[in-house]
Structure formats: C-alpha cells, structure tokens
C-alpha cells in the first residue's frame, strides 16, 4: 500500500505538504491542535471544491477565469431566494442552476463558437460579477435563515460539513476521470485534440460539459460560503480563480492540458491553505506573508517537477 502511494505521481507534492505541516507544527504547536485543523480544513474545502471544477477545464487544455464571479452569482441568487422565503434546498438548486447557465454560455462559446477559453471566461468573469453588482448595488444579503447555516457551520463525525462535501465531490470526480470514457476522452483532448477528434471523440460536446462542471463546482462552493458567513457577499470569489488554478497546478496539473489528478488538486489546495493559516500562526509579519506564499508555491512545484524528471 505504502509503496503504491510512493509510486504515485503525487508523492513528491504530498511530501512537500507533510514537510510544511511538520515544520509549521514544530514552530507553533497550536497549528496541530484539533480546533485549528478543524478550521483550516474548512477553509481549504471551499477552494478545493472550486479547484476540482477548474481541474476538468485545465485537463482539456483550457482555463476558466470566471469561477470566482460565478461563485458570487450563484451565492447571491441562492441568498436572494432565501431572503424571499424560498426553502433553502430549492434555493440551493436554483443557485446552482444560475451558475450552470453561466457555465453553459462559457461552454457554448468555447466549444461551438470556438473562441479562446481565456477570452470567453475573462468576459464571463466581468459579466457575472457585473450582474451581481448591478442587482445588489454592492450590498450583502444578510437575511439568510438560521436553518441554512449548518451546511457550512455544522459538522459530521468531527469533520466540518464543507469538508464532507469536498470529499464526496472529489470521490466522484476521481471516479469519473479514472474509470469513465468521458474522463479518458478529457485527457485525450488535452494531450492531442486533433488526434482525439480523428479517433471519433465528440470534442465539442465534452468541452461544453467541462465548463458546466467547472461552473457547477464553483456555484456549489459559492452557495456553501453563504452558509459559512450567514450572508451573501457581493465581492465573494474575487481572485479565487487564481487560487483554484494554483491548487491544480501545484498538484501536478499541466496548463497545456492532459495531465493532472484529483488527489493532486486536493494536495495543492491543502498546501495553499496550510501556508496561509500557518504563516499567521507562526506570527510572520503580515507585510511579508504574501512574498513567502509566492516562494513556497514555486518551491513546491519545482520539487514536483524535479521528482518527475528524476
């Protein structure tokens, strides 16, 4: 079992995560306390959910810059509906549906109109956050029913609910990518789109679905964040696209497509979350934290690439 783990491509990056955790834990014992790990795992889960969706898009060689603003839109729609008295489960479904509409627009423009993903999703980034701003004028929605909060503030078997959501999604994503034809074809498109097309892969249909998956994951994260804060914030998700992309790339995904895995994304998201929390705990000055995060991200990737070459 251990040997199998070590042979996996993610082993180097997992080692980086373990080193990071041990180092921070040695410097500040409080980091490993149950209550801190509980909080960190919950912080990580939101980025990880978005990053799982982003992974699908990156695998085909694309990119989705709009996940952050789709989060905000879905959260706002769900929050607004709950404010109107719509029961939370229905509000969640409709919020995700709103995000999926944005994903469908992304997917259609990229797969069928054949516009570069960077441009389409950059446009969507602006459009979706603009719609949120236009409809809310920047005000948060705070009339969230108390019954909704446990979705993010509650726990099950000692783990925060968002962590369970993340694990469930990760398991499904992993199965889809490793055992289904859809998963294999996604990798195939990312490795060589021409060849995939020649061998009969429905490239357009798959690409369309991939952007829907990214939008769906982002929407879900955005809505669970509403439960987290008991309010829908208009600026939710700003810059999250970069965190999601970084988590995927740290975890071994290639921005040119064809490489990347679900365990890698989870480890990547953990590395980001652990550094961000750890730097505060070991009392690094706020003025230097950002610089250190940059160094650690690049070091982690160097370690990963060195191992693969070696």
């Amino acid at each position: 079992m251990l040997a199998r783990v070590l042979r996996r491509r993610e082993s180097a990056i997992l080692a980086a995560l373990v080193i990071l955790i041990v180092a921070i834990g040695a410097a500040e014992g409080n980091f490993l306390s149950g209550s801190n790990l509980y909080l960190v795992s919950r912080q990580i889960s939101f980025v990880a959910i978005v990053a799982l969706g982003e992974l699908f898009v990156i695998l085909h060689g694309g990119i989705d810059l709009s996940v952050g603003s789709i989060m905000a839109l879905a959260g706002m729609v769900a929050g607004y509906l709950m404010k109107l008295g719509v029961p939370p489960p229905a509000a969640v479904v409709l919020g995700v549906a709103a995000g999926l509409v944005m994903g469908a627009i992304n997917g259609a423009l990229i797969a069928y109109v054949r516009i570069a993903p960077f441009i389409v999703t950059l446009g969507m980034l602006s459009f979706a956050s603009g719609v949120v701003l236009g409809l809310t004028k920047g005000w948060p929605i705070t009339e969230i029913p108390a019954s909704f909060a446990p979705l993010a503030q509650g726990s099950f078997l000692g783990l925060p609910i968002p962590v369970w959501i993340m694990l469930l999604l990760a398991a499904v994503a992993h199965l889809v990518l490793t055992t289904t034809a859809f998963g294999r074809r996604t990798y195939a498109i990312g490795s060589n789109e021409q060849a995939a097309f020649m061998s009969g892969v429905e490239v357009r249909r798959i690409k369309f679905a991939l952007y829907m998956i990214a939008a769906g994951c982002a929407s879900l994260a955005g809505i669970v964040l509403v439960a987290r804060f008991s309010s829908a914030q208009a600026d939710t998700g700003k810059g999250w696209e970069l965190d999601a992309i970084a988590a995927a790339v740290i975890g071994g995904a290639s921005l040119s497509g064809g490489a990347g895995s679900v365990p890698g994304v989870l480890i990547g998201a953990c590395i980001m979350g652990v550094i961000k929390n750890g730097l505060v705990l070991i009392k690094v000055s706020s003025y230097w934290q950002t610089a250190i995060i940059g160094v650690v991200i690049v070091l982690a990737v160097i370690l990963d690439r060195a191992r693969r070459r070696g």
Partner: protein, 341 residues
Amino acid sequence: MKRMPSTVVPVILASLLPLLAVAACNKDKADKAAASKVTTAASGDKGNAGKPPTFVMVTKAVHPYYEPCFEGFQAAAAKYGVKAERVDPQKMELPLQVKSIEELIAQHVDGIALSAVDDAGLVAVIADAAKAGIKVITFDAPAPSSSALTYIGTDNQTAGFEAGKKMAELMKGQGKLAILQGGLTATNLNLRTQGFKEALAKLAPDVKVVDVVDTAGDFSVATNKTEATLQAYPDLTALFSVSAEGAPAAAAVLKQQGKAGKILLAGFDDLKDTLEGIKDGSVAFCIVQKTFKMGWLSIEALRDAVAGKPLPKVTDTGVLFVGKDNVAGYMDEMKKEFAGK
C-alpha cells in the same frame, strides 16, 4: 466539426436578451440616487446665465458607500437650486475615472466633486478641467498633487486616533489587540492604523498590538485570518478593523466560536452586517464617516468656487461613533444636521 452550427450564435445571443432586459428594468426601478449615467436633459445650454449650474459627483465606482454621499449632494442641490448629477466609473481604476472626467469636460458641466482614485494620475485631467472653466473639488479621497480646489472628507489619521482613544477606554488600558487592515498599501488605511496605534501608545501604553493582519479587503480572507489570529493569540482580548469588511467577518467568527462579547470587536464603516453585529452585541461600535455631510459640503464648496470665493484647503468632516444606543437613528441624525440649514 471545426465549423459551428449556424444556429448556435443567434441562440446564445437570444439567451442573453432576457438578462439585458433584467438589467434595463433594474436600472429603471433604481431610484434617482443610483442613476449611473449623466442625463443630458438640461446640458444643452450651460453657458446661459439663466440656467442653474450643473454639479457632478464622480465616484470611484458603484458602491453602497456613495449612496449617502449623493443623498447629501442632492439635498444640498435642491436647497440651493442647482442641478446635481452623478457618474460612477465601471471599476475602481484610474483610466476609467480619467475618462469620466474627460466626458464631463466635453459636456461643459460647471463643477465636479471627485472621489479621487489616484493622486498623480489625475493631475493632468484636473488641470484640463480647470482650463475649461470647470471647478473641481475632491471629496472622500483627496488628490493633493492636483489643482483641485479643496478636499472635503475624513482626516484618516485623526479618525484612527479617535478610534484608538475609544478602544483604549473600552479595554481599560490593558490587554492584547490585533488590527485588521484590508490591504497594506492603501494610504487611507495606513493612516488610520498609524493614528490608531498613536492613540494606544499615548493613552494605553500597556495595551499590546500583537499584529496588523492583512484582510485584503475581502470578507472570506478576513474570516480565515481572524480564525488563524485567534489560534495564534489565545489570550487576545480585542480586535479592531480599520477597513469595512473586518468587523462583520470577525463578528461572524466570534459568534461561531462563542466568543462574541468576550473579545472586544470594533471597526470602521457601517456595513449592514456590522450594524447587525452592534445590535446583537458582537460588535462594540463602528466608526462612521460623515458621508451625507461630504456630499452636502461639496455642493456648498462648488457654489462658492463658482462665485469666486476662496476655499479652505481641507475640511475634515469628522467621524461619528455608532454603538448600541444610537444604531437605530444615527443616519437620520446625520441628515438632520443639515435639515435646518
């Protein structure tokens, strides 16, 4: 395969139409205060002596913060019989604000009250406006290098000092405090933090400021950093946020951890969730900039400028403390200040 079906583009465009319709309706419904484009109704003959002058408020971008500013601007305009308009650049970016001012120069408005998004970058366009005979003043955020005639707004260092004084008093001169700051490069926030620390050093030297935490102006970052800070400093007794998102985010964390009311929390600005925190006791107080006053005084300053009267270089509009006792009625109080004028 490489060609898309010819039906796809129209379908996509058609699917966007309802959204545009929604956006348009929303705009119609929005009250006059939120009108985001300059109306051209009375802009035809500005030069005529009989027409009331047109003064335009230029904000940094759409933000709830500017609503009471513009209300004050409109109220004063109604009192003095001048025309008040408002322009919101799409984003908080210098080129967009410059473009907005250039458009106003082309329209020959009579005065501009500007919440400056930058200093050096606005020098040229403000000079152009002055050359065109347009009076330009700054409110809320200054542009000290420019030829803007005056600045009306909060003196951030003084406001920070006042806040520090209040915290020193509530902390009874002892304890450990962390400052939350949304972005470490924003000049106005740095000044608040500086003033805040000065007040503590002077009035409560035993209070230890353990950290200035960068919340990046983002609610979720503020939440995560607050959680980490509480772990890092288990003996923390107070949190103070110099930017708007810190207090409500920290309040959410304190409430979830059952520490609301046990750890003293306060901060700048009256976001809706901050006010709710004051009502439920998780936030001790917030410091409110006198936005209505900024708008009102802007109209008065522009009138004086048009009449050729000299203007003071700076007008500090001061701050208001909002706590449980006045949370319900402070906004009306601020407006009443000018009702009788």
